[in-house]
Subunit: 401 residues, 2 copies
């Protein structure tokens, strides 16, 4: 058996980001940049006013001076002339500061009368002027490569004048459930059978992580049926398998896919739930074999598939994000397997995150998993921890998982 960390490291070391494709800015939210976004213009392109008011020469902006307003420059309509001594131009936020002016008289500090304006508060040269390039200059890399684009990044890329962006292609993830007993939701259920849940949960997780799931038909528990999957993998970036039971399926998947050239990396992890895990390659396609138990499959997905998807998407190789929390109940000493306790989360009066494990951690309880807000990580051989002790958790509620 190997550790969770070693397994994850070995998986991540074997994966490469997908190649780039060009996506429209309007479709680029949450995509991962494959190249830096470099500003194609300078923002602001010229010195502009930060306020509504008047442009003038600072030397003219003394208390009580009356200036002649020679024009207006609404945003988008720059004033073409030059401001001379004794003159002012009406400006608005974002208006280009006209040639000759080096100060802004705020609207609330001015009294307008016909074409005259009186200075009621002395101005300071340069104040309320946003300098050309204050936000960014042409050539600046405003968004780095390898970043999952936020709404703000999209706005910034737009402002930098990019209608198209280079993003890593969404990884295509084939999902294979095996098992004679598995029926798709809404279809007739065979005797002793169960409804497929793993494929759909995994497909949703792939979507949540920015991938494109391809749910393959359920393969019967025969070597031929499973081996035939090898023919369905053209263009896939990853094959994820999951079975109906926790051990036998892996044997079948391994045996069957070995007949088609599967190179197996490992398949036993010192963890709970989810000990049996397979990683290998079938030709060019990495293969991640998850346990068939739904809770184990989901926990293993969070620990291994999610980081794998991030890596394929072009993000750095990293474990799932964790935060520190306070244990809401005493925790028993752990055995040699890393444990992942399903827990609810509340915020205590001091604003701390309190994670309380469900008293029963049966790995068949999908409903309880769905109700969990977090997984409490328990290291191998972790000693008992009193209520109030510090734990590390993976928040599930904020990840769409």
């Amino acid at each position: 058996m190997i550790s969770v960390e070693e397994a994850r490291d070995r998986i991540l070391a074997d994966l490469q980001p997908t190649p780039a494709e060009i996506v429209a800015l309007a479709d680029a939210w949450s995509r991962v940049t494959a190249a830096p976004v470099t500003a194609r213009l300078t923002q602001p392109p010229a010195d502009v006013s930060a306020m509504d008011g008047y442009a003038l020469r600072a030397a003219d902006g003394t208390l009580g001076t009356v200036l002649h307003v020679i024009g207006a420059a609404p945003a988008g309509h720059p004033f073409e002339g030059t401001i001379a001594q004794g003159q002012a131009v009406r400006l608005f936020t974002g208006s280009v500061v006209p040639t000759g002016a080096d100060a802004i008289l705020l609207q609330e500090d001015a009294t307008a009368a016909g074409t005259d304006v009186t200075v009621n508060e002395a101005v300071t040269a340069g104040r309320h002027i946003r300098r050309a390039g204050q936000d960014f200059a042409a050539g600046d890399a405003v968004v780095p490569a390898g970043r999952r684009l936020t709404a703000r990044d999209i706005g910034l890329a737009a402002a930098a004048n990019h209608p198209w962006l280079a993003a890593h292609r969404r990884p295509r993830v084939a999902i294979l459930a095996t098992g004679d007993e598995i029926a798709m939701p809404g279809e007739p259920i065979p005797p002793g059978g169960i409804v497929s849940s793993n494929s759909h949960a995994l497909a949703a997780l792939v979507r949540a992580a920015g991938g494109e799931p391809v749910v393959l038909p359920v393969a019967a528990d025969t070597r031929e049926a499973v081996a035939a999957v090898a023919d369905a993998l053209h263009g896939m970036d990853l094959l994820v398998t999951t079975g109906g039971a926790s051990v036998g399926d892996h044997d079948l998947v391994i045996e069957s896919l070995k007949t088609r050239g599967l190179k197996l990396d490992f398949w036993q992890i010192a963890m709970r739930p989810g000990k049996p895990l397979l990683f290998g390659r079938l030709g060019p396609v990495p293969v991640l074999g998850l346990p068939g138990n739904p809770v184990s499959a989901m926990v293993c997905s969070i620990l291994f598939l999610l980081p794998a998807l991030s890596r394929l998407c072009g993000l750095p190789a990293a474990p799932p994000p964790t935060v520190r929390a306070i244990a809401g109940a005493a925790l028993r000493a752990n055995d040699h397997r890393a444990d992942h306790l399903r827990a609810t989360v509340r915020i205590d009066p001091e604003g701390r995150i309190v994670a309380t494990p469900f008293p029963v951690q049966d790995s068949a309880m999908l409903r309880r998993l769905a109700l969990a807000d977090a997984l409490i990580l328990r290291a191998p051989n972790a000693p008992a921890l009193p209520e109030g002790g510090e734990v590390t958790v993976i928040r599930l509620d904020s990840l769409g998982l």
Copy 2:
């Protein structure tokens, strides 16, 4: 001027969730349920084994007993007969426990030889048996209404045998930018003009919040152009406007849309950045008018549009999620306007969130907004706070915003 909280309450009070539609389970991730998901079957449907091993009568499971293995029940293939005294049936995780059996002998506690198996560890009646309905029973509401579906929920809905789910329709949000100076990215930029960024950032935010953005063509700064937008709103659940400057646009939007029946609710908020805000109705369509300044528009979106979208999606009316953090720098006393400081976030050695505001908070700096991990909320008239003091922040990095 009214407070941020009052403005948000008034907006939310005026909005209703969109009606339900039927979505395929495979498309339902991150959608909001419009009805509870009620289990159509019992899970597990019968008593099943939690481990690989043998089913037997507990009375037979004493140390050293040799039992006759009369069959096997792989998952999906229940054993049809009845187990009598001295008999056992081979089982796997998930296998239905045959009639007559009430105990499980673990595989690792047994020695198999031909059709015999020897008990090496005494069994306990009922142990390692998952009872019918342990996860859920037919008729249980396994997912409540008004929940944004996680990957785990999708798995649970599948297990409950639902190929279709009732979800609130994605709110359709029309986005209108006004301003003569605005060019779309990649298109010719007029003199003194800027590239449209708000529409694209807002469209991405609408997507992040589960809505469907409809970006309208930029309206010129004329009453006719803006008023014509009223004709483009059929089927929209919300109109969001944003202009190129911070005050004049609202005047134009208000004047123009009033000619088409706009009922105005309010438009001045005691906040920074983003004082001018408009809310009203144009016929059946709620109208949210954001400031034109990109940073102000985005901050107002997070404070008002995001909760509005959540409400339209069918989630409870609520402010954006906040967490407590430690100020990474001393904060000045605040004036009468609620402030929203753009800040970076780091985790200190004690695991606390430390939010440090950028030294310059100019509302024209979109690049800095994109780099921010959080907004530090400063209440009106908040006193000065030393470095290390407690603040409330909205995390931006985890929301895709």
